[in-house]
Subunit: 224 residues, 2 copies
């Protein structure tokens, strides 16, 4: 499907940019992708998101939309086929609630833990685990957050959960695994096996190295 | 209009509960209101919002919806007359962006400033002012955030702006006034003059006293 001049400013390892790429892909919308150097942001990024100066930014018909969850809503409203949000208002509210929960609780806990060592690392992992456990309750016996098929909340949450798993591996901590969060673990496996999601998945070793590098840099900053 | 068993759990001084009350009122939806004692929350609140245990919670047809912005979307989808969000997807994205901005930037800065004294108070006020100034840019020459009539972003932002003004008065700091933010100041005056908003406005002296009490309690905690 022609995207009528759709362009996305993103960054390969950003779960927020991956949300938008998944949504565009699930809808089959063609778009131009511009990879940003976050240490040297393009004038287009600075100009199209003057408030946050952050990716992702969706450019469409000469207008720019920022904030990944706002972009997902926009995509679902402009291209109505293959809806991301369920039809029922209550189910839509549930999807929005859990996507918001991930951004407000899980993301800060996961990001905060990356730079921790020793006891603080254990404490950070415990906090992140508690939020992920709460998130798991949102599945409530369903296959996906959106019900039976991958939708708004699934693409919003999956990339954060994916990075949580990479963090678990890189930092040798327990976050989401078969034993402590079987329902959430099964859900991630299911969502990431989807051909659209699989195609977008960044290379394992690149993400792993990126996480270790980021950790080392952050620890150096904190201990200085 | 019959609200088919609509109930709201709220707190009189909460801008988040006031958002929902404004939305229901603008749509003319009848509802039962239950005032919560935040120091001793009702079993109904704890049970219907187990994740955050916070007001506002909207109960409708035996289901509960939490998070004020999620509730506003729900209300707009269930009762489609007098729409809160504009029709155009880009304008809807703008409304969502600014409502989110207020919760992510303005609210924490304003709340954080309440307990500050001396130089820290000046610093807190300066930070809050910067965010409010950015917010002002969102009006972009329009009468309201929603365009020409009060909508989603207006009810979301107005009560926060109203409390910012009360904070300005109670703490004798500069936040939003005619001189430094003429566009935002004119917008608040306009929105709060709307009969629906005016009717919901808590009594000035009660809010003022509440703010001073809260400040004193917080300062006592911080200095202990």
């Amino acid at each position: 499907m022609a995207g009528e001049g759709v362009k996305l400013l993103g960054y390969w390892g950003s779960p927020f940019a991956l949300r938008v790429r998944s949504a565009l892909k699930l809808k089959g919308i063609e778009y131009e992708y511009q990879e940003e150097d976050l240490g040297n942001k393009s004038p287009l990024l600075l100009q199209s998101n003057p408030v946050y100066k952050k990716i992702p930014v969706l450019l469409h018909n000469g207008k720019s939309i920022s904030e990944s969850l706002v972009i997902l809503e926009y995509i679902d409203e402009v291209w109505k086929h293959n809806p991301l949000l369920p039809e029922d208002p209550y189910e839509r509210a549930r999807s929005r609630f859990w996507a918001k929960f991930v951004d407000e609780k899980c993301v800060p806990a996961l990001v905060g833990t990356i730079s921790k060592v020793g006891e603080e690392l254990e404490k950070g992992a415990r906090e992140a685990r508690e939020h992920l456990k709460t998130l798991e309750s949102g599945l409530d016996g369903k296959r996906c957050f959106g019900g039976t098929k991958i939708g708004f909340a699934d693409v919003a949450i999956a990339w954060v959960a994916y990075l949580a798993r990479m963090e678990q591996e890189a930092l040798k901590i327990q976050l989401i695994d078969q034993q402590n969060m079987p329902v959430l673990a099964a859900w991630i496996d299911y969502v990431l096996e989807d051909p659209v999601m699989k195609e977008l998945m960044p290379p394992h070793d690149k993400v792993f190295k990126h996480m270790i590098d980021m950790r080392e840099k952050l620890i150096a900053i904190v201990s200085n």
